[in-house]
Amino acid sequence: MRRNLAYGIRIGMGILVAGGSLALATAHAEQAAEAHASHVVRLADSVTRSTANYVLPAVTLTRADGQQVSLIDEIGDGRPVVLNFVYTTCTTICSLGSQTFAEVQRKLGAGRDLVHLVSVSIDPEEDTPQRLRAYARRYDAGPQWHFYTGTVEASLDVQRAFRVYRGDKGDHSPVTLVRPASGSGWVRLDGFATAPEILAELKGAKSRN
């Protein structure tokens, strides 16, 4: 209950700053916040929020466009980051997570380019850059939503760094990681985080600054 109240306050503040850099229309944000308020009640049991400072490994990943990139550089490009783990042949939770990311992207509207959505494959040998590009098209991923693959070891390093490795891909659980501002700590949402919850985390940082 206390947590719900905290959410409510943060959402309220989120609305106040909605005209800021995320460039959300106020009406849009109000709608999202209203919808969000009702979700929190229903999902309170299943989404667990925590904060953490993860040490990112110095690994090279392959972005879906084929470029070899450093994870640290990609995440540290100055934008707020929303990160999850997927594999393209997953038919259950990955598609829910990707649908949620697509919804986040839609709800951000014109402000979406100011946020970096990051999806890292936990099945990197199957998920070639080509397959990741096809997967991105399925969810209308915009230019601010990047997909990454790489060697098995690199993917495992990233999973371990974010404490999401569960022994094999089939056993992974839904986790969304949000870094609301460059250099801040991470917010970890375990469970099926909704788009309004993710947006609230992004906006929450603005209101605290």
């Binding site: 997953c90 038919t91 649908q99 099945d123």
Partner: protein, 573 residues
């Protein structure tokens, strides 16, 4: 039987009759029959087909996309994303352990079986011999009727009035959509599965006619000894214990330990006739699954298995079918098609040498190299590279003479077997860069002439010899103890691995012997495997068919001997 149990059963029967009467006005006659008994009277082929479209692809019989609404908090789904198969699986048996990505029990998201018998028959105090236990079955829930199933699918209320989980969509289905879906659900995990008898599980292995007798013998011997050992460890049904009337190990234990029986299906003649030969073999000897086999062009075997919905695990197929939409065929690797990708990577990689502009491939028509060369040519031509081919007739022509007329290309790719490789002749005249298929050419034992060894890069879709030595040691020891002659180490080790994978998967399945479930089980468990034969690691998932996905490019380390060095690290094309 206790009075209480009897009462509950009578009560449930009453509920069933009452609900049948209540819904009689809206339900067709067969649905009434279904409501009164566990199964509809006669399968309706058109309805089953329509239901299959809903279940597998999220396509309604009208052609419209299936719509699945979820709680606003969870994204809704439509079309293929809403299809039942995504969560309940091809088998209809729901989640196997860890296979659904929902961390099943821990998250309370375990996906129940929805094969007709698990919905419409009582799961309570069920008879394990007829309705085997599977993870996620709702043992306390009353049996569904078509009417209550309709309510569950549309409104998310189960047979007892409980609300279904929030991840289960609420579907927009008409009455005829629902009848079609039920007709399909009733085809899943039938009471009688071919190849499964109360005491024996039947398996086949398939050998195509071009395979040398000694390699055939080497593979069959591994399988026969594996089967014999598995059978020797089995417990026989013990005498009923005096008091309980149960067997010592319980019925389900006895059933797990059914004897395995191997049927070797040898094919003859041309590939076009293999399909009908296999149909005849299967009619004579119904089997639960196909394990292993030996052959070059595996496409006709693959097509037979898909047509007959026969679960297969193939360790030794050189040319697998590349049919991503198919379900029933699992391979350890993509064979020569993977090699084509590895060689393409090698040719296209930016390196010290000038970019390749023209490539010549040499293969024998009708052999595995033909398909691999075709794939590589497509990839290279897409990149603007000219591809020439020197095709040798089956059994005729020498590679040396074919190569003499083929100077002037930047690179040469050899899709040849050892008998042709020894006769390659002088490499002075040929292209500056040379690649070869390791799988066809004999891997590190390839009889590549000395003057070719220093210049040739070999596709090697396995782990390097020095890295796999521990993983391969166990099967080799197993062969030694059983006096199995090692004729083709890679093939025999991977055949042994395939037998082991099926054996472990079946142990996990307990009594639920069903081909699609076997495929799902292997897809979910193979990643845990530590002894992975010739491969550095194996991994599968739903909609994946090739367990090892990458390979090396290697060169011989020295002018003689079997030592290899990696020319390019493990990559996935």
């Amino acid at each position: 039987m206790s009075l209480r149990g009897k009462g509950a059963r009578v009560g449930r029967a009453l509920v069933r009759i009452v609900s049948a009467v209540l819904f009689a006005a809206v339900w067709p006659a067969w649905a009434m029959a279904a409501a009164m008994g566990p199964m509809p009277a006669a399968p309706d082929t058109a309805a089953i087909k329509a239901g299959e479209g809903i279940y597998l692809r999220g396509e309604l019989p009208s052609g419209a996309a299936l719509q699945g609404r979820r709680d606003d908090a969870v994204p809704s789904a439509r079309g293929a994303e809403a299809a039942c198969v995504n969560c309940h699986r091809r088998s209809g048996l729901g989640s196997t352990h860890q296979s659904n990505g929902l961390n099943a029990k821990a998250n309370g998201n375990q996906i129940p079986p929805i094969a007709g018998r698990y919905l419409f028959e009582s799961n309570a105090g069920h008879d394990e011999a007829n309705l085997p236990y599977v993870d996620g079955m709702r043992s306390g829930r009353s049996p569904y009727t078509p009417a209550t199933l309709g309510r569950a699918l549309r409104e998310g209320i189960d047979a007892d009035g409980h609300t279904l989980g929030k991840l289960m969509p609420r579907f927009a289905l008409s009455d005829s959509d629902l009848s079609a879906l039920i007709a399909y659900l009733n085809t899943l995990y039938p009471a009688h599965v071919p190849g499964v008898t109360p005491t024996v599980l039947h398996f086949a292995t398939i050998i195509t006619p071009e395979i040398e007798p000694e390699r055939r013998k080497a593979m069959v011997e591994v399988m026969e000894k594996f089967f014999a050992e598995r059978n020797s460890r089995q417990m026989v049904p013990s005498a009923p214990m005096r008091v309980s009337g149960k067997t010592q190990y319980g019925r389900s234990m006895f059933m797990v330990h059914r004897q395995w029986q191997l049927h070797v299906w040898d094919l003859t003649g041309s590939p076009e006739t293999w399909g009908s030969q296999l149909d005849e073999h299967l009619a004579r000897e119904p089997v639960l699954a196909v394990i292993s086999g030996l052959g070059h062009n595996w496409v006709p075997v693959h097509e037979f298995c898909e047509r007959k919905q026969l679960a297969c695990l193939f360790p030794n197929a050189e040319v697998p079918a590349d049919a991503p939409g198919d379900f029933f065929e699992l391979y350890l690797s993509r064979g020569v098609l993977l090699e084509a990708g590895l060689i393409a990577n090698g040719l296209l990689a930016p390196g010290a040498t000038a970019p390749v502009k023209s490539v010549r491939q040499i293969y024998r028509s009708g052999d595995s190299g033909e398909a691999a060369a075709g794939l590589l040519a497509r990839v290279l031509r897409d990149k603007g590279i000219t591809v020439h081919e020197s095709v040798l007739a089956p059994g005729g022509g020498s590679p040396a003479s074919a190569l003499r007329s083929a100077a002037g290309d930047d690179a040469l790719v050899l899709w040849l077997r050892p008998a042709d490789i020894v006769a390659l002749g002088d490499p002075k005249e040929v292209a500056p860069r040379i690649f070869m298929s390791g799988l066809m050419g004999g891997l590190e034992k390839s009889p590549l002439p000395a003057e070719w060894r220093a210049r040739t890069i070999m596709a090697y879709p396995f782990d390097l010899p020095q890295k796999r030595v521990v993983r391969v040691d166990y099967p080799l020891g197993w062969f030694r103890i059983r006096h199995i002659a090692v004729v083709d180490e890679q093939m025999q080790v991977d055949t042994y691995l395939a037998c082991g994978l099926v054996s472990e998967a079946l142990n996990e399945m307990v009594d639920t012997f069903y081909g699609p479930y076997l495929i799902e089980e292997i897809q979910s468990m193979v990643e845990h495997r530590i002894v992975t034969g010739y491969y550095p690691h194996l991994s599968l998932a739903e909609n994946q068919h090739f367990a090892s996905k990458g390979g090396y490019l290697v060169q011989f380390a020295k002018p003689s001997g079997n030592g290899l060095v990696a020319a390019r690290e493990w990559t996935v094309p």
